[in-house]
């Protein structure tokens, strides 16, 4: 085991994947010898050469078009989009191409070797265009897998799974935690199952569902609630597509209460999907309405980031409201 931050864990996963198969390619804007603006790909060009880890021209739709073609050829294409906020020029290539490649061809062709890495989320004074959490747009697209790790250990194991998974995976990295989150991580290869939620903390009174960086807020809020004698169970969804509603439903059948929290705006977010599914599966078990604790329906603000941010206090208040309903 070694102590790593989230970026080092991602770098380690890329390194191991590229060592394991010479069909793994890593590319994106500034990701070549420079190692990417966040340094996630540093050292890879030196180790594997500039044909395996390289810069792309500044064109997101081209990065994903190229990546789809490379993956359809049988390679493992690991494409970085520098910020999730800039993924939209590639939306067509992801939603109409990556996601439908296998289906539309009747399995004659596929882009299973594709992994799209992109940092997402706020709390870094990034304003509209360096803070968004665009997962819900993609979670509405059959054919994609979507994974959002919460810490270095999860990031490394999940990224290794994502790269070699036989389906295209959108891997969204919580950039607020890139250096802030550290932990013990095995130096060698290991994988974590995609599509499986992780019960981070067991509890009997109320279930909190979160993913990515928001799990940290759930944990802090649960700590505060514990001081009031409220015993929260925390579930990290890990994967949004496909998502593990069985684990969530089993928890809610036990606790009778659910708080779902996400960084993204409230309306039409993934929290709404969780709420709808769980009321359907657990209707007679619910002791209070399912609460969604989310961002406001505004573009991501700058000077009001602290107010906008879905912090632990907002989650804590939702817990109390649910308990006293």
């Amino acid at each position: 085991m070694a102590k790593m931050n989230l970026l080092q864990a991602i770098n380690s996963a890329l390194d191991l994947a590229m060592a394991k198969s010479d069909k793994v390619y890593s590319f994106g804007e500034d990701t070549g010898a420079f190692g990417g603006v966040f340094r996630a790909t540093s050292g890879l060009t030196e180790k594997y050469g500039r044909h395996r880890n390289f810069n792309t021209p500044l064109v997101e739709q081209g990065i994903l078009g190229f990546a789809n073609g490379l993956a359809s050829q049988g390679s493992y294409a690991v494409a970085e989009i520098q910020f999730g906020d800039y993924i939209f020029p590639a939306f067509d290539q992801i939603v109409n191409e990556s996601a439908k490649f296998r289906y539309r061809s009747g399995n004659e062709f596929n882009v299973g070797g594709l992994t799209i890495r992109t940092p997402y989320g706020g709390g870094i004074a990034g304003g509209h265009y360096h803070s968004q959490s665009p997962e819900a747009y993609f979670a509405h697209t059959p054919g994609l897998k979507i994974v959002m790790p919460r810490n270095p250990y999860m990031a490394k194991g999940l990224l290794l799974s994502a790269i070699f998974d036989p389906n295209p995976v959108l891997f969204m990295e919580p950039k607020r935690l890139y250096r802030a989150s550290t932990g013990e991580v095995p130096e060698g290869e290991y994988t974590l199952e995609l599509g499986k939620a992780d019960v981070v903390r067991e509890g009997k009174d109320l279930t909190i569902v979160a993913w990515g960086a928001q799990v940290e807020m759930a944990e802090k809020a649960a700590d505060m609630a514990a001081e009031q004698g409220i015993d929260c169970e925390i579930i990290d969804l890990v994967s949004l597509l496909p998502w593990d509603y069985d684990t969530v439903a089993a928890s809610v059948k036990k606790t009778g209460r659910l708080v779902v929290t996400q960084e993204a705006p409230l309306t039409n977010g993934f929290a709404s999907e969780v709420a709808a599914t769980i009321q359907d599966k657990c209707f007679l078990y619910l002791e209070s309405p399912i609460a969604r604790v989310c961002g406001l329906d505004t573009p991501y603000p700058l000077s009001h980031e602290k107010e906008y941010f879905v912090d632990h206090l907002k989650v804590y208040e939702a817990i109390k409201a649910s308990m006293t309903y």
């Binding site: 190229f66 290539q93 061809s105």
Partner: protein, 399 residues
Amino acid sequence: MAQDKQHQLDIVTEPQFIDGSALQIPMLQILKEDGSVQKGASVPAIDKELALKMHDTMQFIRILDERMIAAQRQGRISFYLSSLGEEAASIGSAAALDDGDMIMGQYREQGALAFRGFTVEQFMNQLFSNERDLGKGRQMPVHYGCAALNFMTIASPLATQIPQATGYAYGQKMDQTGNCTLCYFGEGAASEGDFHAALNMAAVYKVPVIFFCRNNGYAISTPSQGEQYAGDGIAPRGVAYGMKTIRVDGNDIFAVYQATQLARKLAVEENEPVLIEGMSYRMAGHSTSDDPTGYRTREEEAAWRAKDPLARFESYLMAQKWLTKEAAEENYAEKKAAVLAALKDAEKVPVPHIDELIKDVYDTPTKQLQEQLEELKAHIRKYPEAYPKTASRMDGGEK
């Protein structure tokens, strides 16, 4: 002349604008409209067998197109796209490739697929979305694809295949396969951002890809010159991106063949991407949903009919004594009979079983998808008369 060493540029002291029409790219033509050889041109080394295969394929596609437009008019299929007038562009280029080269098409290159060996039955199964379709009945007619023939499945969104061709060719280069990728698209698709991304990346990475633009004069109703672009067509864009570029008469199968053959050599032997612009004319409507009388004249169409690629090639073949009028007619009748027979067979084949609905979304269906399918089947069992194509084949009712 003084030089700026950092940018390796000549320095001038008076403002000089380069005219937007400064680069005028000529067009390679080997066969004249009457099928005779242009003075000074050399006919590519094509033997009789290959020449007749190219001719056969052109004839077959013309019959298929004609017959399937009629089938659409009769309500037997929902949609069709004809390649009338553009057969030389797709067949001449496909003929210059190796069977191991990947072809990524737009949607009007059925000629290339037929040349590769896609059978009339395979065409019909796709057009009727039946259970024998390699695409499992999931896409509208003409969205063919076949892994065994290295022909990437067609997708409706325009130009998305162009950067994919760059990526595919990158993989071919890294794997040292000795093969290249040929990517077809129209002059309208060349306005999409994906086109520009693709050419730039291919030039930067030096990958073995041939971009083949079929400039057929129209994007549905929008004429190319003056409304799709203001410059000298698509070819100068290749030069701007720093790649080898050539413009050919797209209705001259020899010009298309020769240019593609040389492009393939550049791509495979020197990792030089190439742009070919084939000048042609879409004699048909955009699709069966389109009526060209609303945007172009009969005189314009007649002028292009005189440049017909099949008639031109036939004149050459007959002058060579490789083909007789009688043989061409006999071949036409045989092919037509085969098309009609395959059509009748394919329309009797049922649509895929309902269980196919959830397959291939992922490599294996998720739990969610399995649950949704079971719910759907329970619903179909309740109202079988509303879903006759699938209800009759469920629960042991399978043929």
